[in-house]
């Protein structure tokens, strides 16, 4: 568990961090370190330099920004889980944060780190896609915004370009008439999602006006269960329509991941069950 040697930088500004990333070609951004440092200790990752963004004050915090929440990239899972603002404006995000890892992980791990690392079994990517979040990145060419649906490209791969730093995530708020839920089957060892499903449901006049359903853990990146979403539109949020929609989740999962703990077939089954549970809870919350 001893990493190769590396240079370590702790810049105070995003511009400085950008410069360092440009200068040191093999540098990696360090946030909470809960994925990168273990990989380095296993010598699976051997970066020549680490750019620790933990001292950049403007990257941390949670604030309301219009109808969205601005969440700084270095905000920890624990801060999100405990935030009154998040619990009021986007409770499903707090609920998700509270299910990540254990206390130690939640105290160190950051939302930006989780998103930028793009682990297939991470919890935040799934719920961020379901919520329609926007990712803010800053790089040598300035700032740009990336929609959640376009952010995750492949296993451990995002739309961030070399030299770009994820600075914040904009998460749409939802209020009365809408409900969200994140349900997962955690791996018994790591507590990562073997299958994690995020559902956001808007109910108007007793019918589902809009449903967002995203499945994580079963494929390299979370996938939207579009057919299931469409099936729910205009339906009563009852057990029958939810079961019918959950039954369509399997169709969204191509080539499911498989490992020693859970086969692809079982993952798909778990996703179906978690989808049913997430939709049921979300619909209940939407009704108030």
């Amino acid at each position: 568990m001893y990493s190769s040697s590396f240079q370590y930088f702790r810049p105070k500004t995003v511009a400085e961090a950008s410069q360092l990333l440009k200068k040191h070609k093999d540098a990696r951004v360090l946030a909470g370190g809960h994925s990168l440092l273990p990989a380095m200790k296993f010598r699976l990752a051997n970066p020549m330099a680490l750019v620790d963004i933990g001292a950049i004050k403007r990257l941390a915090g949670i604030k309301a920004q219009g109808k969205a929440l601005w969440i700084g990239a270095t905000t920890t899972h624990a801060e999100i889980a405990a935030s009154g603002l998040v619990r009021k404006s986007c409770p499903v995000l707090a609920e998700t944060a509270a299910q990540i890892g254990d206390i130690q992980v939640r105290n160190r791990g950051t939302i930006g780190g989780s998103a930028a690392h793009a682990d297939p079994a991470a919890d935040f990517p799934t719920v961020l896609i379901a919520l329609g979040a926007t990712f803010v990145a800053k790089g040598p060419k300035g700032e740009r915004k990336i929609a959640a649906d376009k952010f995750f490209l492949d296993l451990f791969t995002t739309a961030l370009k070399p030299g770009e730093i994820l600075t914040a995530i904009l998460v749409p708020s939802y209020g009365k008439g809408s409900g969200g839920s994140y349900q997962k089957h955690p791996h018994p060892a790591s507590r990562y999602a073997v299958a994690g499903v995020a559902a956001v449901v808007e109910v108007k006049d007793g019918k589902i006006a809009r449903a967002s359903l995203v499945v994580g853990g079963t494929t390299p990146n979370p996938v939207r269960a579009a057919t299931a979403e469409a099936a729910l539109s205009g339906q009563k949020p009852d057990a029958a329509s939810i079961a019918a929609a959950a039954g369509k989740v399997a169709g969204a999962i191509e080539d499911p991941l498989s490992d020693h703990y859970a086969s692809g077939e079982f993952r798909v089954h778990l996703a179906t069950v978690m989808a049913k549970r997430a939709l049921t809870a979300a619909a209940e919350r939407a009704r108030g």
């Binding site: 001893y2 703990y261 079982f266 778990l270 069950v273």
Partner: protein
């Protein structure tokens, strides 16, 4: 007699230093000039080592040396000894070189060592060692390894069979012929990884001028390690000091004398500086012993009324690539002799094949052999009950050995010391409200909810043990214990013991014994262990022996102190020695208790010896050794209640009731703590844990991210009860409690899950009972 301190739940004196971080573990020791050792390990499960190139690594800045197995051998460091060879089993003991020389036999086998100024450099240099391997075919499954055409690990062991051991009692064939029902099962008691929170570490300081060495090491038995090192390092025993400082858990995995112990001594000798090695967690998963790994073909015969007639078993025990210190004794003596469990089974036969495979060596893991026996018996009893449509509680009651206080001999030849199995079981059933819970279960089933109730009523063997038996069964050492009790002029006491506790709390319980039996304050007693230079010879802490055997030695020393104190008191009170009596810290003349001397008065006078009996040696110190006449046999009843989510296959432990009987209880809090830890570890085997190798012989479950350990949030509050049936095997009537939880909880939880799944016709699943296995079984049943 004993004051209230015996039996009271005083706080553990070990804890303040542990919870404030002041405890010093092996890795905390830093010596001047100290260097660090890293082991280069084989990535292959089985391969020939064609060529080792060390020059590049040796030339790196800060590297003190790179060494191979051949160099170590040439320097006089021999193979790691196997310390248990069971007689009558034709055991093969192929050499276990500390560093492989020509062939590597499991992924993780050492091929070279690197010594450098710091840990990072050592790791960099280890990466620079180039090894050319020629991969060989490999085998990880013990039964398969014995079949024709399989890869051979050691020339001495054809078909990879290390031994074939048998145990027989009664007439098994006749009993099976006479049976009304026979049940059969193939049980996979899976491989487990011990996971002590402190990985192993070793630090050696060798003096060439003196040819002596001090070794700080994570050991449960420093005296045994010293003895074995004297056999394989060429350094004589009196020149070796082994210190086991604070040890962060062992569960059996810190019993063996490991190759790394020899490596650091060798490296210190070669480099002329102290050398430390500390295991990484990934290394721990591959290079520290594993436990269990049995394939068991078992059958039980019974009468229609549920009377068990016989048990027959054939077992393939996976020993791994080499023989670890005690590995051959685990699946034989500590397993096969316990197949009667808590029941009166008159006919028993078992064949055990110990098998070499291309896997990490196995050895004792908490329970060590007894969980493999108890699971087998408890599972078979359930299957008989199910076949006869009997209540699993009733079949147990019918077959229990009736209460006994003075020995009961079972078919395998062991004589249990004392037991009252029905009393413990009845108490547990009452705590559970068994009848009420069965009704609730039936009601829930109507609603489509599925809970299950599972039992384990066990008897186990521990408190190892009489030395004559140890010798007779091939154990390479004695199994007695020792203690020194030393009174100072101020009346304070130092106690030095041969046992080596590492979390079990004997510093507290032994102080309680001294306080109770000699009338000093418990705070006046200091207990020292774990250092061969500061403690008398002893055989260490494992097999739940520290208290039952160690307290026997302690009591021997206490009695000697009392006897000598009587002589001193008689002199001071001008009375005859025969007239002096002792009670609660006071020595007085029979009939006039107001005239007395306290133990402190006696300690002062014995130490200054101003006014002292003629011819009596000064000082108040006694040394005693205790070799128990028998093992001890704790017992109890554990009941698990689980809920199965039939959608996902997830299992939730809803209640856990345990009634354990470990004879007289010195400190109930410490006893409960042992049960808590044990139960949790055993549940881990039933539900989550299991080491797995992939097709290339690599450990799939190689980290805590993959190997699922129990977590606090997975458990309800454990409901613990006790019965107290003393033993006459030792002076205090105490039995061991370190392993009962692990022995009992695995079958209890497994049986509970099977009970929950019974309406679906699911009869068998392999552990760990993961959600996917449960789900697949339910899918099969629904089809």
């Amino acid at each position: 007699m004993a004051s209230r301190i015996f039996g009271s739940a005083i706080k553990r004196r070990e804890d303040p230093r542990l919870i404030t971080g002041q405890a010093k573990y092996t890795d905390d020791f830093v010596l001047p000039g100290m260097a660090y050792l890293t082991v280069v390990r084989s990535p292959y499960a089985h391969a020939k080592v064609l060529r080792l190139r060390t020059k590049k690594a040796a030339a790196m800045d800060g590297v003190l040396g790179v060494f191979t197995g051949q160099q170590m051998k040439d320097a006089g460091f021999g193979a790691i000894p196997c310390a248990w060879v069971v007689p009558g089993s034709d055991t093969k003991t192929p050499a276990y070189p500390p560093i492989a020389i020509d062939t590597v036999r499991y992924a993780g086998n050492a091929v070279a060592i690197v010594v450098a100024r710091d840990r990072y450099l050592a790791r960099d240099a280890a990466d620079a060692v180039e090894v050319d391997y020629e991969p060989l075919p490999h085998v990880a499954d013990a039964e398969k390894a014995t079949q024709k055409g399989q890869p051979q690990l050691h020339a001495e062991a054809p078909n990879n069979v290390c031994f074939h051991w048998k145990v027989s009692g009664g007439d098994v064939d006749a009993a099976f012929k006479a049976a009304d029902v026979v049940v059969k099962e193939r049980i996979l008691n899976q491989r487990l990884i011990p996971n002590a929170i402190e990985p192993r570490a070793a630090l050696a300081q060798y003096s060439s001028a003196m040819n002596e060495v001090t070794l700080w090491v994570t050991s449960q038995n420093p005296h045994i390690v010293r003895f074995l090192l004297s056999l394989d390092t060429g350094i004589p025993e009196q020149k070796i000091r082994v210190i086991a400082p604070e040890v962060g858990g062992g569960f059996g995995s810190k019993i063996p004398h490991y190759p790394e112990d020899s490596m650091v001594i060798f490296a210190s000798k070669m480099c002329g500086v102290p050398v430390k090695w500390t295991e990484t967690r990934s290394e721990n998963y591959r290079a520290t012993i594993h436990g269990r790994d049995h394939i068991q073909d078992v059958e039980m015969a019974a009468k229609k009324d549920g009377t068990i007639l016989a048990l027959r078993a054939k077992v393939w025990a996976n020993l791994g690539a080499y023989l670890s210190t005690a590995s051959t004794g685990i699946p034989t003596i500590l397993h096969g002799l316990m197949l009667s469990g808590a029941y009166d089974i008159k006919n028993i036969h078992e064949d055990v094949y110990g098998v070499f495979t291309n896997t990490t060596p196995t050895d004792a893991y908490r329970g060590a052999g007894r969980p493999e026996a108890t699971f087998m018996v408890e599972r078979l009893v359930e299957l008989v009950a199910r076949k006869l449509k009997m209540d699993p509680a009733d079949i147990r009651k019918k077959n229990f050995i009736p209460p006994f206080t003075d020995g009961h001999t079972v078919a395998t030849g062991l004589t249990y010391d004392s037991g009252n199995y029905i009393a413990a079981f009845e108490k547990a059933l009452k705590m559970l409200d068994y009848a009420g819970l069965r009704k609730k279960q039936a009601d829930l089933r109507k609603k489509g909810e599925h809970i299950g109730i599972g039992f384990c009523t066990y008897a186990e063997i521990c408190g190892l043990g009489p030395s004559q038996v140890a010798g007779a069964v091939g154990f390479g050492g004695g199994l007695w214990e020792s203690a020194i009790v030393r009174f100072h002029p101020s009346g304070k006491v130092n106690v030095m013991v041969g046992i080596s506790p590492h979390g079990q709390g004997e510093e507290t319980t032994f102080a309680q014994i001294v306080a109770s039996e000699l009338g000093v304050s418990v705070d006046d007693v200091e207990v020292t262990h774990g250092d061969t230079a500061r403690t008398p010879m002893g055989w260490g802490s494992y097999g739940s022996r520290s208290t039952p055997v160690g307290s026997g030695a302690l009591m021997g020393a206490i009695v000697k102190i009392r006897e000598k104190s009587k002589v001193v008191t008689a002199h001071l009170l001008e009375a005859a020695v025969e007239d002096i009596e002792y009670d609660d810290g006071k020595f007085f003349v029979k009939g006039s208790p107001s005239k007395f001397k306290t133990i402190q008065d006696v300690a002062l006078m014995a130490n200054v010896a101003w006014n002292y009996p003629k011819g009596l040696e000064p000082g108040l110190e006694a040394s005693a050794f205790f070799d128990p006449p028998n093992f001890v046999y704790p017992f109890g009843a554990h009941i698990a209640v689980v809920r199965v989510d039939t959608e996902t296959g997830e299992i939730k432990l809803e209640r856990y009731v345990a009634v354990d009987d470990c004879g007289r209880v010195i400190n109930p809090m410490i006893v409960n703590g042992q049960i808590h830890g044990g139960v949790v570890q055993g549940v881990g085997q039933a539900l989550w844990e299991g080491a797995a190798y992939d097709e290339s012989g690599q450990l799939l479950t190689g980290s805590m991210m993959d190997y699922a350990l129990p977590k606090a949030e997975d458990f309800p509050n454990l409901e613990l009860g006790m019965t107290e049936t003393p033993t006459n095997v030792n002076p205090l009537g105490v039995k061991g409690i370190g392993e009962t939880g692990t022995i009992a909880s695995t079958p209890a939880v497994y049986n509970a899950v099977m009970d929950a799944l019974a309406p679906f016709g699911v009869g068998k699943l392999d552990m760990p009972l993961t959600p996917e296995k449960v789900w697949r079984a339910l899918q099969g049943a629904r089809r």
